[in-house]
């Protein structure tokens, strides 16, 4: 089935992905506005993928994490860096590996 792409970001991020063809873009201004927009996008059955910048996701805090946990299989939500390249210090993938197979294995996985 075909789905659309949505982006939540600052002006530059949204401009860039709009040029690439993303249907819905939301420029983040305030926390509440963006949280409610996120809820809308997650409920929209036509949307398969939502891109959101790390910076904004962090700003949305606990409510963001809760909203993500409650969502269904689709849309998929992916966090991306904005033009400053900001990525958070907490690496979720690292934590996932540690939780699943243990800490020593993480070292091996990173070493390749």
């Amino acid at each position: 089935m075909s789905f659309k792409v949505a982006v939540i970001g600052d002006v530059d991020t949204t401009t860039g992905f709009a040029l690439a063809g993303a249907q819905y873009v939301h420029v983040h201004i305030d926390k509440n506005g963006t949280l409610s927009k996120l809820g809308e996008l997650l409920a929209d059955k036509e949307i398969g993928l939502v891109l959101i910048t790390h910076r904004i996701a962090e700003e949305l805090g606990a409510e963001f994490r809760m909203t993500i946990r409650k969502k269904g299989l689709l849309p998929i939500v992916l966090r991306i860096p904005d033009k400053t390249g900001y990525t958070p210090k907490v690496d979720e993938l690292y934590n996932l590996i540690k939780r699943t197979v243990g800490a020593e294995i993480v070292v091996r996985a990173e070493g390749g």
Partner: protein, 213 residues
């Protein structure tokens, strides 16, 4: 080691049932362990792919941001944003599912739309090639991000299933099977005991009968 022994009547029937149960549990354990091993392989495969996919996507994304600032510098920020509003926003991704041993995982494919300047939508006379470059770079970035999204969802799903399977393998190996084996041993011992008691009782009865004669 004192294993918890289930309260059970020590009969041969019960012993037979238990032996069958242990055999089933052992079979189940071995199969689930194969599944667990296979899931571990899958997990590390996905992780490796994620490593490459992530760096490719992030590199491309920073290229895209750079192309966008070049575009803003050349064309002007307002014109660039205007062009993005005029652009044809019809990108679609095809999402289906694939299965990995009982886990359903999404597959994502960008519908290949080779868009050139005309089909991108913005009016040509006010734009220049830098806009096209920025669009192309972001299109490439989006393609790579879509791949990354698929891999990350897969990793999460596999991890969850792996944890569940591991718990079941351990429950069988360290709790259920030892308990069944201990109960079997208990019944065997009791049956032996009962048989000996029976035997000696019969001997006494025989002795009594012989004494009467």
């Amino acid at each position: 080691m004192a294993e918890a022994v289930s309260a059970v009547t020590p009969t041969r029937m019960e012993l037979l049932k238990l032996r069958q149960r242990v055999s089933l549990a052992q079979k189940g354990h071995d199969l689930l362990r194969e599944k667990m091993d296979a899931l571990v392989i899958e997990f590390f495969e996905v992780l490796k792919k994620i490593g490459d996919a992530k760096s490719a996507a992030l590199n491309q994304l920073s290229l895209a941001y750079r192309a966008l600032s070049v575009c803003s510098a050349v064309m002007g920020t307002i014109e660039t944003r205007q062009a993005s509003r005029e652009a044809k926003r019809e990108l679609e991704i095809e999402i289906s599912t694939r299965h990995i041993m009982g886990i359903v995982v999404p597959t994502l494919e960008v519908e290949e739309l080779k868009r050139n300047a005309l089909s991108r939508g913005y009016s040509l006379h006010t734009t220049s090639s830098v806009l096209d470059d920025a669009s192309k770079e972001f299109e490439k970035a989006l393609g790579l991000l879509v791949k990354l999204a698929e891999l990350e969802e897969s990793a999460n799903a596999i991890a969850r299933e792996l944890e569940g399977t591991k718990r079941r393998v351990n429950a069988l190996e360290y709790i259920l099977i030892p308990r069944l084996k201990a109960t079997i041993k208990f019944i065997e011992m009791r049956l032996d005991e009962m048989e000996r008691e029976n035997f000696s009782r019969l001997k006494r009865i025989k002795a009594m009968l012989e004494a009467r004669e």
